[in-house]
Each structure stands twice: as structure tokens, then as C-alpha cells.
Symmetry: none
Subunit: 205 residues, 4 copies
DNA sequence: GATGAATGAGCGTTCATTCAT
DNA sequence: GATGAATGAACGCTCATTCAT
């Protein structure tokens, strides 16, 4: 009988629903200004019931950030891998990243706010995860660029540093777009980032 | 009579002393983990007395961050202005920025932690300030690069976007250095940033 | 038709099973540290089902203590009644009591722990029961001693007070044995209690 | 200047006032049914202020019980030591004990209730203290009786056991008096306890 | 009959802020 | 001016109880 499966399905749907509400609320107000009761109310559950899904407020927050980030990285990595040569991969990397930010503004604003504080045990994990994700991405891009060097399309600069630069050029555009209630779409910045990253700003006389 | 002036002088010295202690403590523990009593104790004043200088904990925090940042930007702008041509200015901009981060690790880590949350009215101000500072810096660098374009040393790309890229390349290096208990000094990254910003990563044919 | 009887029989078996588990768990952890869910799980029933047998957690607790005590007193009274003369009866009273404590350590420790608090209506009942039981025992022993007086083997002291003394001499030994992870069996104290109760401690010169 | 002393004096008076109120309330309702707010209100202070005197609810409770017991034992020991021969000492021991119970009914009722549960760290201490106090009292009385044996007024029975019996004969009377809203003063029981303890209940020949 | 998912009241504790001295 | 004693609002979490199935 599929009763167990139905239960499980329901469990995950509810969990997802809670996380979705949590994302909205945390994104809007920040971890400390949100009460468990608010998330419960928004989710349409009682406070106590949330504890069936998450061990506590911090776990809930952690899960929400963590899973959202996993989603982002998964998408990016998958799309990059599907691309052809190194230049295409770089292009896709940039676009995919910007795309996620554009579609998840509120969530991303969490990182402008930071919120990483209160390193009270559970929260520390999120920091570790953030760092790990960052380093993994760094390595991923590094490998990408190394191949570019091998292919002869990229200068033989320190690859990890180059990776750092590329990643933060992307973040740069994202941050500006998030901070300044700005003009135009974020993805429209892709060409520009690509251009500067590849060619620099110096005019070859 | 200079009594009023003496009072004022004393006021500012005390205020500065409090901010100095606040910086240490907030940097080390984060906004939420610090109590007003701790700052008072470290400053050698009573809790109540702090309220003569700041309207509340958040104002104190805001003031501390704000003034520290002003200091940073003032230094950078001053040094950049003192430099010669555009390339030198870019060079100094990078170096000056990295230098500040290197010398104020704990303070800068505040921004990794975020802490910007609690947008409860007062805190929002800090966000606005952060944004303003950012935009001002963007404009400053934009102007710099525009001159570079005029001088013919820089390609005629959208200057504001270029400025964003440069600033975030600097921030990129800073963030990595702060996050990863890494190897080597931060300032040693200067040449590298300069190189990529000016020349890009693409190997010319 | 015996259907009703079967139902009833089943009801009582289940009730007894729950009480048996409850005794173990409450004895080990104390009223406040035990959750209804734990007892339900241990009994192999659902939480909701327990409420078919008991009105609530306190009632369950009360019932368990109450019935266990009834059991104890029943045993003691039966054994005493079966004994021959007054001295034997006293001897059996002591032994039977100590025996129960020895065999039900965990349960008895409940009374060291107290647990009688929370006099929230229902719990008060247990207090009343405790008192009633105590008074009944007092009367029982009183009657015993009165006969002893009549028989001329016991001094004509106030019988109720004597009864109190005897009961508490027994409790004294029990409490000490429960509190101090002590040496030797509890029942070995019987002769001693008997001796002092009958002869006092004064050396007849 | 006696300012510090005045402060200290005030501190102790307030602490004592809180403990006095706490005693009343805890005695009446039991640890779990009392809220910090109630004690605060009864003491005329705000909840937060109580935490200047005690680390938390449990510490407050522990302190109250502990200090009250110390008071009791101090009084008893002092009075016993001041008495003349062994028989007088025994007499004083009984009287002093009964007297305390009579004058501190509500407090003593705590031990009928037990309350020893919730052995959550701090509470465990109270158990340890209770045990220690008990053992110390046991030793105290034991020594007393040993001297009695040496003096030839007491039979050479195991002194520790005898001590246990005496203590619990006293407690017996106390418990009965506390449980049964009874007739007559508790101290009137002294002669009786003394008599039975010394002479037993057996009618000679 | 049995279940167990769902509820939501209840409480200890912290700490920014005030104000009498 | 300076103090620091006193305040009390605010919140995460547990778990006995209920009731739809």
C-alpha cells in the first residue's frame, strides 16, 4: 500500500512549503527579526508542528540557506558541464550565476546582510558550508581555467587567483544589482563581464 | 573662555575611546553577542553614560562602522589623488584598499558575518550608508577610469561597469584572504589584480 | 454472552500492562521527566489510546502509585493477619514491609523524590490517598498494639503514638537503605527494629 | 565611608526577603507550580532583578532549602551541645527538632512532597546536600549514643542503627503532625518519643 | 476500536534602556 | 555630570491533549 509513500510525499511537500515561506520571511527581515511563530503562521501550521520538520529555528534557517545554495550550484555545474569549449563554459558559468541571482533576489540579499553571525553551534555549520561551497566553486573554476591555459586560450597566470577574480566579477555585478534598485536586467551584464575578464580594460595601442 | 571647547574636546575623546573599544568587541563577537555593559566596562564608563554619546546600541554600532569606513575611504581617496597618472592611481587604489583590509582584519570580517540584518529603522541607516559609500566609490573609480579612457590607456567600455569590476576584484581578493586562513600577505595580490584588470586573462593569439 | 466479559478482561489486561510500564518509567525518571509518548511507546499503544484508560498523565500516575500501594498494604495486612500472637504479628509486619521495599526499590524511591507536588486538583487526590492509607495503617497497627497491651506484652502507652513510632522505625530503615547505597540486605534489619521497638535502648542496670 | 557596607546590607536583606517569599510560595505550591514571576511579584521586585541574587529558579530554590536546613541543624547541634549528660542531650535533640518543624510547617511540608525530582544538574546538588546533612546528623547522633553506651545508660546495640531509629522516630512524629491536621502541639510528643526510644514498648515481665 | 498528526498554551531568562541619586 | 540598580518585554521550545480518519 502506498500509504507510507503518501505520507512521505506529504512530509516533503510540507517541508518545502515551510522552507519556501521561511525563505521569504528570512529574506525580508533577517534571521534575528523573524520569530518561529511568524513562519508557522505563514506556513499555515502551528509552531509546535514546525519542530517535526526542523530541530529548531537555526536548523530551519540553515536548511533553507543550505538547500537553496545546493540548488544553485547544482544548476550552474550541470549547465557548465553541458557546454562545449572553455570559452563557452566560462560564458555559461557567468550567465547561469547571474540568472540565479536575478530569479532569487530576496534570497541573495541575505548575503548582503550577512547573517552569518551568531556562530552558536548550528550556525557555525552554515559558515563552514558557505566556505566549503566557495572553495569547491573555486576549484571548479580553477580546473576550467587550467584547461583553457592548456588549450592556449588563456594566459598562464596563477589559475586559482584567476578563478577568484572571475567569481568575484560575477558577484560584483550581482551585488551592484541587488544593492542598487537598478536599471536593466542582471543577465545583460554577461557580455561585459566576459569581455573584461578575457581582455582586461587596457587598450592595446 | 575655553571651557566649552574643553568640554567638547573631552566629549570627542571619550566618544572616540568608546568607539575604539566597541570596534574591538563587535569585531570579535558580532553585534548580537555583545552587550552594552561589556562595551561600557571596556570603555571604563557606566552603561548609562554611553547613552550620552549614542542613542542606543544600534546607533553605537552604526556609528562605529560608519566612521571606520569613512576613515578607510578618506585614506584611499587621499592616496589615490596624490598619485600621478591613471595607471598609478589604479595601482594605489588597489594597494590602499588591500592594505586597509590587511590591517583591519577583524573589523572587515564584520562584513563577512554580515550583521547588517535587523533593519529596525536605525540599522537601515547603516545599509543606506553602505550603499552610499559604495556608490560614491563607484563614481570615484568611474571618473578615474574615464580619464584613463580619455588618456587612451583604457578601452572605451562602460566606465561604471568597469569600476564595479575593479572594486570587486579588490574585494574578491580581500574576501578570500579573510575567509581562508591563507598563505601570504594580502598586499602581495596587488600586481596580480592590476594585471588581470588591465590585460584580462586571454592569451593574445 | 461472554463478549462483554471478554472486552472487560481485555480492558483490564491492557490497563495493567500500561501501569506496569508506567511504573518502570516513572520510577526511573520521575513524573516530570516522563512523557506520555514514552509510556505509550513502552506499552505498545498509541498516545491517544492511553486516554481510554486514564483521564490524563496525572491520573495515570496517580493510579499507578495508588494501586501499587494497595498491593503493598494488602500483602502486609494479609500476612500479618495470618500470623499467630501479637509479637509474631509485629515481626511479620516489619518483615513484610521491608520485603516490599527491598523488592520495589525504584518504586519506593518515588517517595524519596517526592513527586507529590503539583497539587493541581488531580494530584491532590494522591496526597489524600497517601494520607488515608497512612491513617488506615496507623489504625491497623494501633489495633494490633492494643491487643498486645490487653495481652499484657506491651506497656500501656498511647497506642496510636506507638503505632506511629513502629511504622516510622520501619520507614527509617527503608529510607536509609534507599538513600545510602548501603551494605547488606534491608530485611536483615528486622531483628534490630523489633528489638529496639520492644526493648528501647536503655540499659537496665 | 560605609556606602559599600550599606549596599551589602541591603543586598542581604533583599536576598533574605526574596528567600522568605520563595519559602512561602514554594512551600504552598511546589517547585514546578511556581513561576519566577510569582516570586518576583511577591518580593516586590521585577523578574529580572531576581537574577541579581540567584542564577535561576533552581538556584533560588536550592538556596532557600539549603539555607533553611543549615539553620535548623545549626540550632539543633548548638542546643544539644549545650546540654549536660547524654539523656539530656537526647531530650534536647528531640525537642529542638520538633520545635523547628512546628515553627516551619510549610517549609517542612516540602519534604513530604519530596520535590527532589528534576535532577537537572543544580537540583542534584540539593539531593547531595540532603544526603550529606542526613549522614552528618546520623554521625552526630551516633556519637551521642556511643557516649551513652560508654556511660552505661544505653544498651550496646549498633550505634548507627540506633541513631537511625531515633532520628526517624522524631521524623515519624513530625510527618504525622504535618500530614494529619492534628490535635495538639508537636512538641508535646517529646516525652513519648523519649520514653519509647529509651524503654521500648515491651512490658517487663 | 486505534491512531498519531496537529495544536498552542506556558515559562525561564536576557539585556537594552531608564532614571533616581 | 555619572552611576548602576531596576525594569519588563520578548521568544524559542516542549508536550499533554484532542480529534479526524
Amino acid at each position: 500500500m502506498g500509504k507510507v509513500q503518501r505520507k512521505e510525499r506529504e512530509f516533503h511537500m510540507r517541508r518545502a512549503a515551510i522552507l519556501a515561506e521561511a525563505e521569504k520571511i528570512f529574506s525580508a527581515k533577517g534571521f534575528h527579526k523573524v520569530t518561529v511563530a511568524q513562519i508557522a503562521a505563514a506556513s499555515g501550521f502551528s509552531t509546535g508542528f514546525l519542530y517535526q520538520f526542523f530541530e529548531g529555528k537555526e536548523h530551519l534557517y540553515t536548511a533553507m540557506v543550505s538547500e537553496k545554495l545546493d540548488m544553485m550550484y547544482d544548476t550552474i555545474y550541470r549547465e557548465v558541464k553541458a557546454a562545449g569549449n572553455t570559452k563557452d563554459k566560462i560564458s555559461v558559468l557567468i550567465e547561469s550565476h547571474l540568472c540565479f541571482v536575478e530569479e532569487n533576489m530576496d534570497f541573495c540579499r541575505i548575503f548582503l546582510r550577512g547573517e552569518g553571525d551568531t556562530l552558536s553551534g548550528v550556525m557555525t555549520e552554515i559558515r563552514r558550508k558557505l566556505l566549503e561551497d566557495y572553495l569547491r566553486q573555486l576549484s571548479f573554476v580553477e580546473k576550467l581555467l587550467k584547461e583553457g591555459v592548456k588549450e592556449g586560450v588563456i594566459r598562464a597566470l596563477p589559475p586559482r587567483e584567476m578563478a577568484g577574480v572571475l567569481i568575484h566579477m560575477i558577484r560584483a555585478a550581482s551585488v551592484r544589482w541587488l544593492m542598487v534598485p537598478s536599471e536593466g536586467s542582471l543577465t545583460s551584464q554577461k557580455r561585459f563581464i566576459e569581455d573584461i575578464f578575457l581582455n582586461g580594460v587596457k587598450k592595446n595601442e
